[in-house]
């Protein structure tokens, strides 16, 4: 902000040198460019502050004339996260989800499996169980089943080759979150002293990793025939410009946008997992959670459709 203040001081001097309106426009444009260049590393708010002072000095009319003001909603990559027409980087509207395509029963060996694509993020989920506890018997719970989750990313899933697909802190944390989510949803009281394994692998990562994993795992658990209280649907939402964006992609996530990942059981509106990073003012929290819940309900409709279709296919094949 210090560099911005320095530039502001030059305006009165420049004003004197400018005779025509065209000169004025050009000069302010240059000044804006300069300010943006100097503020390139700070948050977009910094550049905005300068424009306000320029408008004050020169009158509101100028602000209208300059197209650069609108493009100040930029992230570090310099791309618009939300244009004024309301379109995002990939052409979606703010509350629009990415295209969901899913398949159940992908593998024959596993009890349940599913493959889910949400936009460009692709995940595979496999469920084994319920079966006897493997390993230490001491982990067995006398009244319910133990859910064991493992999350891993394929080494080719990200733009740069991942050196450690699993075992690092982020993957362990993600596995813990998945376990927590499904412990809330799966009716584990029906299978005491047994274990249910859920393995999820991300084949291509383009934002919303956790949400896609949860959705894929839900389908896999349903495919395995394990009873659940409700569909578990998850969605990642971000907050840009007072607008919640549903289902973030990688470019939006890495742009420093405050993102909220929510896993929801749609019928009761119960939140199984809530996770938020980056700064967000408290007043916007409610709107963001609302948007996330709406998006999750949308996802649940899609998943329901997939399950019914799969059931139809399977039953037609077996001739029922």
């Amino acid at each position: 902000m210090n560099s911005v203040a320095a530039l502001c001081l030059n305006i009165p001097d420049i004003k004197r040198c400018i005779q025509t309106e065209e000169d004025r426009t050009v000069t302010v444009r240059t000044l804006l460019l300069l300010s943006l260049w100097s503020c390139r590393s700070s948050s977009p708010g910094g550049a905005f502050g300068y424009v306000h002072s320029a408008a004050d000095t020169w009158g509101v009319a100028l602000a209208v004339r300059l197209p650069f003001i609108r493009s100040l909603r930029k992230n570090m990559a310099g791309l618009e996260l939300l244009s004024d027409q309301g379109y995002r980087l990939d052409g979606r509207k703010a509350a629009e989800l990415r295209k969901v395509q899913a398949r159940m029963g992908v593998f024959a060996q596993a009890d349940g499996s599913a493959y889910l694509e949400q936009g460009n993020t692709k995940a595979l989920a496999v469920v084994y169980g319920p079966h006897e506890i493997r390993g230490s018997r001491s982990r067995a719970l006398h009244d319910r089943a133990v859910i064991n989750c493992q999350y891993s990313m394929a080494t080719f899933s990200t733009a740069e080759r991942k050196r450690r697909p699993h075992g690092d802190r982020k993957s362990t944390e993600m596995s813990l979150h998945l376990k927590q989510t499904f412990e809330a949803a799966v009716m584990t009281q029906l299978y005491p002293r047994s274990q249910i394994d859920i393995y999820v692998k991300i084949l291509q990562s383009d934002g919303g990793n956790y949400s896609v994993c949860v959705n894929a795992a839900t389908l896999a658990v349903i495919d395995a025939g394990i009873p659940m209280r409700d569909y578990v649907c998850a969605c990642t939402v971000g907050f840009v410009d007072e607008t919640p964006l549903a289902d973030l992609c990688y470019a939006e996530e890495s742009g420093g946008v405050s993102s909220l990942a929510l896993a929801l059981l749609p019928r009761g509106g119960q939140i199984a997992l809530l996770q938020m990073d980056a700064r967000l003012h408290q007043d916007h929290l409610e709107a963001l959670i609302e948007a996330a819940m709406t998006a999750c309900k949308g996802v649940s409709k899609v998943l329901d459709e997939v399950v019914r279709q799969h059931l139809q296919e399977v039953s037609s094949l077996t001739g029922e």
């Binding site: 909220l260 980056a278 929290l285």
Partner: protein
């Protein structure tokens, strides 16, 4: 070392108390424990006491090469150590689930919220940047490690001073603290985390759970905010289902608590600055209370004393006669003696057995304290049936003393239910 499991009666007691809006240490639902912040002798060392939970944070810095994709930003590294001295449940070296969870939460709380200006840590772009490392050690675990760790980490970062650097062309000189005054880090805001624990499927909520409350809780919600009411991180853990209004309520409570704690941290930093300027002695050793014979300090334990006398009188009146003790050594048969039989077990597990015998033996006695009553009867029977004595508690060993006249009844006093079943079945056989 495995932690001692929580007994069912303790769990029930805690849950019952929470339902009645009472906490073990007399706090209200939304109260924090007493927070005490002290600093070590070096800059960047901070101790935080949250009630009895004690953590220590130390900040250190080092010049290293930056990451390739961010050549002009410094690096922040956070590490939480769950030292075995904090709790018997923590094991040395193993990265347990709790350790991963705490580490990731602290990282998200402090790094993703960008509380520190990492660009000011750059010395030579692309070649040398400062790496700021925050190590948090748990010294005593009495619940709510996350909050204590976040307070300690951010206070230590505010307290820390890094050495000054001078760049002459290509050469970088790091000045020692004696040559040039070290510079504090540029901190934008102070994120502080507040933990909420949920009980009975989300019906009851407590702020700042102590260790016992943590054991019986269903789940935990951690909200990290700064005093400008910006939420830096939210994380729900445990298998609880939350509702949206619960989350909103928690965020409102958190904003209040965070402003209080931020004030406290500010005051502590101010005090420390004053003391250091005045040349006073500061450090860990100074902050401990002096060991003097005349200094006796005992914290007041909050105990509810409202209707103690009435209750005590009630209990005394209703209590029956204490059981008669058998003289020892017991000499049932000439030539056979036993010392130290011990009292009758009061577990009440053999009530079924006792009930059968009671009905056959006794009639029309007042049943005030049923257990004491049965104890007495059992003792009477034992005295009359003095031919059977227990030498050991083992189920396999039956001590049967054969007399020519008296009938023999083998008796087992086992302590487990299946032993009781076996005993009653044996009884059935003998009868």
């Amino acid at each position: 070392m495995k932690d001692t499991p929580l007994s069912n009666c303790e769990r029930d007691f805690l849950l019952q108390a929470i339902e009645e809006k009472k906490r073990l240490d007399g706090r209200q639902t939304y109260d924090y424990r007493k927070i005490k912040i002290t600093f070590g002798t070096d800059y960047g060392c901070c101790f935080v006491d949250l009630g009895k939970t004690r953590v220590m944070a130390q900040v250190s810095c080092e010049l290293i090469a930056p990451k390739e994709n961010r050549p002009n930003e410094g690096i922040m590294f956070f590490n939480i150590e769950l030292s075995p001295m904090a709790s018997p449940a923590f094991e040395q070296g193993r990265q347990s689930e709790l350790s991963v969870k705490l580490n990731r939460q602290l990282e998200r709380c402090l790094r993703n919220s960008k509380c520190i200006d990492t660009e000011s840590l750059c010395v030579v772009s692309g070649e040398k940047v400062w790496q700021i490392r925050v190590d948090v050690h748990m010294l005593n675990h009495d619940g709510n490690l996350m909050d204590a760790a976040s307070i300690a980490a951010i206070t230590a970062l505010c307290h820390f001073r890094r050495p000054d650097v001078g760049i002459q062309g290509d050469e970088v000189t790091v000045y020692s603290p004696e040559e040039r005054e070290p510079i504090p880090l540029s901190i934008y805001h102070m994120p502080i985390s507040v933990s909420f624990s949920f009980f009975q499927q989300g019906t009851y909520l407590l702020v700042d759970p102590c260790e016992r409350e943590e054991r019986v809780m269903d789940g935990l919600l951690m909200i990290a905010m700064n005093k400008h009411r910006e939420i830096c991180s939210i994380q729900s853990s445990g298998g609880i289902m939350l509702l949206k209004d619960q989350v909103m309520r928690c965020s409102k409570i958190a904003s209040v608590k965070v402003s209080e704690i931020t004030e406290l941290v500010g005051k502590a930093l101010e005090n420390d600055k004053k003391v250091r300027k005045a040349g006073g002695r500061c450090g860990f050793a100074e902050s401990l209370p002096q060991e003097r014979i005349t200094a006796l300090k005992m914290d007041k334990t909050p105990v509810e004393m409202m209707d103690v006398t009435e209750r005590a009188n009630d209990i005394v009146q209703k209590a029956g006669v204490p059981p008669q003790t058998v003289a020892s050594p017991v000499v049932p048969v000439p030539g056979l003696g036993q010392v130290g039989q011990g009292l009758q077990n009061t577990w009440g597990l053999e009530e079924d057995e006792e009930v059968e015998e009671e009905e056959s033996d006794i009639s029309g006695e007042e049943q005030e304290g049923k257990v004491t009553q049965m104890e007495e009867e059992k003792y009477e029977k034992e005295e009359s049936r003095g031919d059977v004595v227990e030498i050991s508690d083992s189920e396999e060993e039956e001590v049967v003393i054969l007399h020519p006249e008296t009938p023999n009844k083998a008796k087992n006093t086992g302590f487990s239910s299946h032993q009781k079943g076996a005993a009653s079945s044996k009884k059935g056989q003998k009868k």
